[in-house]
Amino acid sequence: MIVKSQNDIPASEITDPLIFKQRRRIIKAMLATTIAGVGTSAVADDKSIGTNLPKGDFSGELLTPSPANLIKNYTNYYEFAFNKEDSTTLAQSLRIDPWSVEISGEVEKPGTYALEDVLRQQTLKEHIYRFRCVEAWSMVIPWVGFSLRDLLKSVKPLSTARFVKFTSVYQPEAMPRQRANAMLDWPYVEGLRIDEAMHPLTLLAVGMYGDFLPKQNGAPLRLVVPWKYGFKSIKAIVKIELLKTPPTTSWNKFSPGEYGFYANVNPSVAHPRWSQYSERQLGSGFFTPRRRTELFNGYGEQVASLYTDMDLRHFY
């Protein structure tokens, strides 16, 4: 049973820009302490999170981020539109201030937490990850975020917690495809096994390219699971539930034969209608071969052990 998420957010008399500024100030202040010694240039202006962030443990040293303007205009955000370009424009009407996240289920400390309070507890780092869409295109994104495990640990999961369910915002007045009840069952739902959720590669991101997330890219808070197809990395999260049983996820429900619960990047398991053997990297020009897709999107060293003894063809 899904509770409409906007009920969780108390109506506020404070105007949105003010709260937004306040969130920025909190982040600035946090960053000032985390990167003290590196210099204050990053926190001098109010426009960006900063480029001097410490790097995450798995941040690819050798990865060159794709051009930011391409990524900001190429998002699958079906709540807004079924094509990638229109989502960018339409997403601007999403209301993201104030924002809070409800954490519930098999945890010792359930509750609804204001995003500012969540961020105050966490260390933001820059994580440069590959991102591979199930549609066979890919990009490299410098995310700004923190490990999901750090947040989960702070609410103390019970030993009965075996899965994590994530729910996106339900804002039909801002989201035309939600309003029309089109295609998927809204709000969007994704899920991970608890060990996947607790893996240090798994992030909650609040920014990219040293700035806050653009709305079309999942502001203000999204999941990043770099070894899985992009649709697992749910945007605009309002609810995180720890469960005993696997949640029903949106794409899996819509087309179970095409989109599995696991959705691990795997070049040798084709989508029923197209190959996953290669990918087109955004930013690569005409007459450049496609990149050969890697098992677990190149993160096998870190995550392959989660799936030993599992038939990846069966659990796609």
Partner: protein, 201 residues
């Protein structure tokens, strides 16, 4: 009315090249968005399909308007369908895969939507190769039979379109409707011709 020797003919030939010029312009000015290679496939694939539909529209239009001599236009549009389909395939092989045959081989084998594209292209290719007066003479009665395969080509093309779809149904549904009417016209004509008694009166 004879279309062959008036000003419409050269304008049509030139007009059919506008989509290509438009595409070249968009490539030159980097207007194809974040994934220009996919945009290229979409543009050229769409125009190949549109020209197939236009080709199939000639006969019904001729019937309804009683204009004569449009078969040259039918041939011209058919050749343009072949032209844009060929660019579509070249775009796939060269611009996208840069002739990496191993990756291309796996991609085609594993992508069922491409099988329908290949079937459509194979037919359109055969028809283009047998379009000349000379081939028409040589093939005699089988020429007409062979060129009816365009019906299969357009069906394969629309399946190819639907099969690669990720989201938006509206556009392919539009083409499906168009194709339904174009082929429906043939079906009706065929039925009519089977019952000459009822219709000649």
């Amino acid at each position: 009315m004879n279309f062959r020797f008036n000003w419409i003919w050269p304008f049509t030939i030139a007009g059919c090249l506008i989509p290509l010029l438009w595409l070249v312009f968009d490539i030159a000015y980097d207007n194809l968005g974040s994934n220009p290679i996919q945009a290229l496939h979409i543009r050229l694939g769409d125009w190949a399909l549109r020209f197939l539909c236009i080709t199939l529209a000639v006969t019904p239009i001729q019937t309804f308007t009683k204009w004569r001599g449009m078969s040259d236009y039918r041939q011209l549009f058919g050749l343009y369908a072949f032209f844009y389909a060929s660019l579509h395939v070249l775009g796939y092989l060269l611009a996208d895969h840069y002739l990496e045959w191993q990756v291309i081989g796996i991609d085609i084998i594993e992508s069922s939507y491409i099988w329908f594209g290949v079937l459509a292209y194979f037919i359109v290719f055969l028809l283009a190769m047998t379009t000349s007066k000379w081939a028409k003479k040589r093939l005699g009665k089988s020429w007409k039979k062979l060129h009816r395969f365009i019906y299969i080509a357009v069906c394969a093309a629309i399946i190819h379109y639907f099969w690669q779809l990720k989201g938006n149904l509206a556009e392919p549904l539009f083409y499906l409707l168009v194709i339904f009417f174009l082929l429906g016209f043939r079906a009706l004509t065929w039925l009519k011709n089977r019952q000459p008694n009822e219709n000649t009166g």
